[in-house]
Amino acid sequence: MEQHLEEMKRRVRDGEHNRWRQDSVPDVLAECEAEGLSWVRRAARLTRRMCEAERPVIEPDERIVFTRTLRTIPPVYSPADWAARTAGRTVHELGCVNNICADWGMILSQGLLGRRQVALESRQRLADQPEVVEFLDAAVETIDAVLGLAARYAHEARELGRLDVAALLERVPAHPAKTFHEALQALRVVHAVLWLSGHYQNAFGRLDQYLWPYLEADLRAGRLDSAGAQALLAEFFIASNKDADLYPGVQKGDNGQTLVLGGVRPDGTCGVNGLTRLALRAALEVSMIDPKINLRIDPGTDLDLLSLASELTRKGLGFPQYSNDAVVIPGLVAHGYDLADARDYVMAACWEFIIPGKGMEVVNTGAVSFPAAVDRGLREALPAGGDFQAVLEGTRQDVRRQVERVVGDYRRLILPPAPYYSIMLDGCLEQGRDASEGLKYNNFGIHGAASANAADALAAVRKLVFEEQSIDRATLLRALDANWEGYEPLRCRLAEEGPRVGNDDDAADELLVKLFGYLAQACDAAGDNGRGGRVRPGTGSAMYYVWLARGNPGMREPVVGATAEGRRVGDLFGANLAPAQGVRVRGPISTLRSFSKIDYQRICNGGPITLELSDAVFRDAESISKVAMLVRTFAQVGCQQLQVNTVNLETLLDAKAHPERHKNLIVRVWGWSGYFCELAPEYQDHIIARQMHTMV
């Protein structure tokens, strides 16, 4: 990476730009109250005042500018007012519209002035509808606020003699972008103002699709070469890390700045272009946690592209995450999406599939705890003398109850107006309708969490309690209640002798498939979600692999105690789709085959299979291509989504402290790889020391 970019990255990592941050934020609430502003007007006023309060910052070497200086988002309601407005309703997370993806192509190609014109035309046409007029006026207020911010940046640039930056900001985001550089600058400002307006988990979408026309034109005209384009994109990526410490999230870095590359175009042709590879290379160079790269692939994706992506995996950043078009697109179509829209899918904050510009979906309404459902099934069926079918039936009913509880709450969802977001979402300005009222797609998503543990529990019970009858029903329930105290041999038998998900063993995998079948049934049965959409079941766990085991304040989902696969109270569940913690499997091929059995036509909210590979796997070009083959195999066996992690120091340290959670962690010996947890402590220390050595 060029020297000035390395330096820029260092400054961001060191937080040097924090010195520009202001100590106060505008008091928007006071004027909203004083003027008695409506809801939508308050949202617009927030955007306006935040833009006005931002102070232009232009570092000498920056070519893409904007540095956020306001630390927090001020409220536009008093707590009492907010409580009154939301009484009896369900507030999603922080309340405001989040976790969706703008139609970036539209905003870049029309410019803010183009969008303003659309708003004014609609205002004229729909002048007899006061609420429409108010919404459009609010939207125009936000557009003018961003234009004002850009003008102040341009003015500052002129003062500093940065005529290049001034020229950029005088053109964009007001006018349609004409060059790749302009498009990136426009994207930076418009995206940053989303965060300033209180929206969060704001996705970047299919960057290689909507930016390629600008880059292609530059390359053709000779205005830019690919090295220059990569440097610009690298700078944009670095900039996207600047304000990340100010973003809300469960943990730092969990901010949903996702970016999607590759995949088919809406017409079904291959969308991989020059920018796809360039963006992967820029992300590789930059090696920071934002933006989070997703790569859409299919069984025919070439190994060159997958090898380039695997180079990113080697960096240990936890991306790219892969989605398999061949599975995702038909699944979305089966859930009512038009084919062209389904082909345009992107990822929300984690993995959930959403359609840019067209989806006002709430993809993470909550989770179903499969282990809690199995626990209920066991506690109902076993004392009553029921057979295994009765256990399954109890489980099925509990899954349904859990779905109904979450969906029942979310039928009362209330979303505050989002006039600024609306200017970049399809049809809002055209129809005079705020995005919070709904877009073309308005589905909910629900996570099916801790599925491997639950299937393992069922498989162990089926084998040992029902088939072999070697464990007594009452004893099992007593042992669960006692958290295995006094029952350790029984716990070991359940943990060791039961079939386990992740090893391509139908005896366990069949039960995994059944559990997701119950979830799909329950979601279908939930019907309309109250917003003209339906409920999409998924395979992710998000943070629920912790919460469902240990609880979290305010959570709707049930917490379960000890579970029948031999898990103790409070032990964490497996994250997303992965073998339960501590399960020893033959390897990643068997794991992929296990999870390929799920019916992804019905299970389509996303949730990746998570594979962990030692970074020793990646030591040469040949092994990189083998990782690429493994990724291609994921697509070829018909799985939906994949995350490949490189094992790093932190994991090794955790493995040393908690070996039972990391039985599959592999380390390289020579000519052969060994299981980290089966090495004696001094050797573990050596490998840890080696990792420390390689972490420069």
């Binding site: 033959r586 390897g587 990643p588 083998k626 380390v667 000519g671 790889s673 060994g674 947890c677 050596h686």
Partner: protein
């Protein structure tokens, strides 16, 4: 009934041959190399490993059909990715009839034998005839040194090396670099002289010593007491091979 004993089946063993492959680790080895990193591969009997992550039994008995069923389940994937199955150990030729019977049941996969060469000529021929590639270890050329560090004479290994050259199956010679033992200029020169001009030789792989070699001994209830200085810097002398016209690669 013919059965074999296996201490692990590991998928995506990316350092054990071309493409995506699965390695079968056969239990039982006639040699007792001082640097052995698979101590549970030495005894031909099942044994309990007491690891920090819990106890587990190393050593599963399979019929050739059972083992082949597991491997064939992924044959399409292995074939599509230029890979297949590696038989390693332990010493796979110690169970040559079982390995051969299993290999005959595999459906069109690339088969690689990873052997110490310490076996009968007949067993070597039997298995190599079914293989696409062989990884052949040469550790020490001096017989006395070989006895000292592995417990056994190297005459069968050197003899089998020449047999291998006549079998028409390409092979890689693998040399574990043990500090002060196998990495001496004398030994490496002797290995280079031995393999120079050998028919079918693809290359020599030098495998640098890794300090986690002894890591599994405690779990296997054994003591790791290397009669050499593990901390001594390695002598990675590739020149001696290059000068002899032998392709060499440091793994």
């Amino acid at each position: 009934m013919l059965t074999g004993i296996v201490f692990d089946v590991k998928e995506f063993a990316i350092h054990d041959g071309p493409g995506i492959r699965t390695t079968v680790f056969l239990k039982g080895c006639p040699l007792h190399c001082a640097w052995c990193h698979n101590p549970e591969g030495i005894s031909p009997k099942p044994q309990v490993l007491h690891a920090p992550s819990g106890d587990r039994v190393a050593g599963t008995v399979y019929t050739p059909a059972e083992l082949a069923w597991i491997l064939n389940a992924q044959a399409d994937i292995m074939r599509a990715n230029e890979g297949g199955v590696t038989f390693s150990g332990g010493e796979p030729l110690r169970q040559a009839r079982f390995v051969a019977a299993t290999a005959r049941l595999l459906r069109g996969m690339h088969i690689l034998l990873d052997t110490s060469g310490y076996a009968t000529k007949g067993d070597l021929r039997l298995v190599v005839a079914l293989c696409d590639m062989v990884y052949y270890d040469l550790k020490l050329i001096d017989p006395a040194q070989h006895r000292r560090y592995t417990g056994y004479d190297n005459a069968p290994i050197l003899h089998n090396f020449h047999v291998l050259g006549g079998l028409g199956v390409p092979y890689v010679v693998r040399v574990p670099l043990i500090p002060g033992v196998t990495d001496t200029d004398d030994n490496l020169a002797a290995i280079a002289a031995t393999v120079r001009g050998a028919p079918g030789l693809l290359r020599v792989d030098l495998l640098p010593y890794n300090h986690v070699a002894g890591g599994k001994y405690a779990a296997a209830g054994m003591t790791f007491a290397p009669p050499y200085d593990e901390a001594r810097p390695l002598n990675i002398n590739t020149a001696v091979f290059t000068e002899a016209g032998v392709p060499v690669h440091v793994a």
